[in-house]
Symmetry: C2
Subunit: 218 residues, 2 copies
């Protein structure tokens, strides 16, 4: 190997930052906490990433490409397997959600933290507009287009509002607040992603059909 190996401490900083930012948000975490949990000097984060905000962006971007391509592949796959009529609403929603479930269940807790961080950013009036569009707009547009095909005659406005509802439901699941565990008295568990998505997919698909017209009932 002619090139220098990736520094392992660099990755540890990213992992710890990911976890802490997801839990406490950008301002709720100090570089010293991150360094301490990573077993590293404070100055090392600055050396590798520059300013604190650059570290935040690095965490945000590290897994974004992988996530986007996994979801896009799932969309293409369901489009390929569907006939000329195209995939159903359920199949599209499934392609949108299942890759997340898979990522959360790789055993790597980093993915879980990462998706919780996305939830934090997506719901923040401050961070949302600054960070979400850049990385996820084109992916979302692809799914919206597929939904438009699956819901002929639907008004664009209605589709966007329905997507908004989907995005909110998904986000609360990703945030892992444990709220449903307490409310349900243990009958539901936040960490049970399969149950979450198994319920979310038919829920959302029915909502789309109701709001965007039922001409595509299959």
């Amino acid at each position: 190997m002619t090139k220098s190996r990736q520094a392992p401490k660099r990755e540890r900083i990213l992992d710890v930052a990911e976890e802490l930012f997801a839990l406490r948000g950008y301002d709720g975490v100090t570089l010293r906490q991150i360094a301490k949990d990573a077993g590293v000097d404070v100055a090392l984060a600055s050396y590798h990433f520059g300013k604190k905000l650059d570290l935040f962006n690095a965490v945000f971007e590290r897994r974004a490409a992988h996530l986007n391509s996994a979801r896009l592949d799932a969309l293409k796959a369901c489009q390929a397997s569907a006939g000329a009529a195209g995939p159903s609403v359920e199949q599209i929603i499934e392609a949108f959600l299942r890759p997340l479930e898979l990522a959360q269940e790789t055993g790597d807790p980093g993915w879980q933290n990462y998706l919780a961080l996305i939830a934090y950013i997506n719901n923040s009036p401050y961070w949302g507009p600054r960070m979400m569009s850049k990385l996820f707009d084109s992916l979302v547009s692809a799914f919206i287009a597929a939904l438009r095909d699956a819901l002929p005659g639907a008004r664009d406005e209605d589709i966007y509002w329905c997507y908004h509802n989907l995005s909110g439901a998904l986000t609360l699941t990703l945030a892992q607040t444990g709220r449903i565990d307490k409310l349900s008295g243990g009958k539901c568990r936040s960490a049970d992603f399969q149950a979450a998505y198994d319920h979310m997919i038919p829920f959302v698909a029915a909502g789309f059909r109701e709001v965007c017209g039922r001409s595509t009932a299959r």
Copy 2:
């Protein structure tokens, strides 16, 4: 009046704190920012509320009782106007959501900031468990019970997951991130609460029916 009037600056601190906390979160706001925007000395916040965390709680609790009773009144009203069969899923969801729309449209921007703050807390893995239950669990339980009656034969687990989806969709709307505005190219506006709820109510009701069994189609 024998009692001293409420200090007006105290309310201004609450108003400003509400707005800033909603935008930047607990750790993203300093007492000095709040004091400056309120046109007040830093020490005054401590005098009125104690620690920073106490101020946060004061903001959180100020409007909670009013909000809870408005929603509970709406639930009782729809139950009273319904026959012996009880209100439909739509009517229950409507009672859950419309009071928020009304609050947001009083012209008092405080309510809008307050609800955005609730959204922030509800989606935070750190603040959610610490703050939501105390103030909102009993209200939510009342609505869950009403939904159970409207969906005979539904499994409790399914009802909670559906409520979870509702809560997430609502929360993203309250957060006012403006994301739907950009995505839709201006066709939808975050600030158009009536449009948001007009779309959310049938969307969510259809989801409940789909997931919790369709025995109650009306």
